[in-house]
């Protein structure tokens, strides 16, 4: 399998670590919605098909990547830096100080 890191270019899967399902939304840090937390930690869509997931280029630039990959064919259709991919949307963990 080959994943094209936006920084390092195409690299073999052996350089990457799978960091799991990218479809999960982390509740707000202070949320007491147990159901939301449980679902975030344990429940998975587990798509047979196009799957959004997080990989780390652990054997390269170490950036986390938001990857779209087909779980039936292993074909990767899109890669972006996870930090740009909006996975944080639901997390409103307020900084205690400093700028947002």
């Amino acid at each position: 399998m080959l994943i094209t890191c936006p920084y390092c270019g195409p690299r073999d899967v052996s350089e990457y670590t799978y960091q799991g399902d990218g479809n999960r939304a982390r509740p707000d840090a202070g949320s007491t919605d147990n159901q939301a937390w449980n679902s975030y930690v344990y429940d998975r869509l587990n798509i047979a098909g196009e799957h959004h997931e997080i990989w780390q280029h652990s054997g390269g630039c170490r950036a986390h990547l938001a990857v779209s990959r087909n779980t039936l064919t292993h074909k990767v259709s899109a890669v972006a830096f996870a930090r740009d991919a909006g996975h944080r949307k639901s997390d409103r963990h307020r900084k205690s100080g400093g700028a947002a």
Binding site: R11, S14, E15
Partner: protein
């Protein structure tokens, strides 16, 4: 000044080794630069960082992933988004970089003791490195000056091409001896010289 102890000391065997019937395929050495420093910019501050590096090192880093440049005494190359490895023959370069790096640009991390710098050169350098890394080492794919981060199983490596057939590898110090032995082993086939 107290000497820095090389992790390779007990296994450092200068001379030629392996199958040298058709010459020496590669030369292996430890370059022991005085400073190996990581500088990292906050997102959006990369250009300022590159400018700051130029001020101190006079190395003009090209824009773009993995871009790098090397002179006799200094080298710099990109290792990750916004991150660069700066190498200088003299000690204490981290302090100099810290002096010019303001908190709004990024951070400086001294790795001078934490990384061991190995050099492999010679006509078979690409061939030997190909045994370790799933990287296309051919010149068009990996031009002189540029750098990459890669891994040989548990051994993480940052590699800069410092010549047409010369590569500098920065390896975690604790793994350096193991990796050095492996490098020698892989070079036996083509004959190698340690110097």
């Amino acid at each position: 000044m107290v000497d820095v102890l090389s992790p390779l000391k007990p296994v450092w065997k200068p001379g030629t080794h392996g199958n040298t019937t058709s010459g020496v395929g590669v030369v292996l050495t430890e370059t022991q630069p005085g400073s190996i420093v990581q500088v990292a910019a906050w997102p959006g501050q990369e250009k300022k960082l590159i400018a700051a590096i130029k001020t101190v090192t006079r190395l003009a880093l090209p824009d773009g992933a993995g871009g790098g440049v090397a002179s006799d005494s200094k080298a710099a190359f990109g290792i990750a988004p916004g991150k660069f490895l700066i190498v200088d023959q003299n000690e204490g370069f981290a302090a100099i970089l810290s002096g010019i790096m303001t908190a709004d640009i990024g951070t400086v991390t001294d790795l001078s003791h934490g990384r061991t710098a190995l050099r492999i050169s010679g006509p078979k350098a690409e061939w030997v490195l190909s045994k370790f890394f799933a990287i296309d080492f051919s010149l068009p794919a990996f031009p002189v000056g540029s750098g990459i981060s890669s891994v040989h199983h548990d051994v993480f490596a940052q590699i800069q091409r410092s010549g047409a057939d010369q590569f500098d590898l920065y390896i975690f110090r604790s793994f350096a001896r193991s990796f050095w032995m492996a490098l020698g082993h892989a070079s036996e086939e083509v004959g190698y010289e340690v110097s």
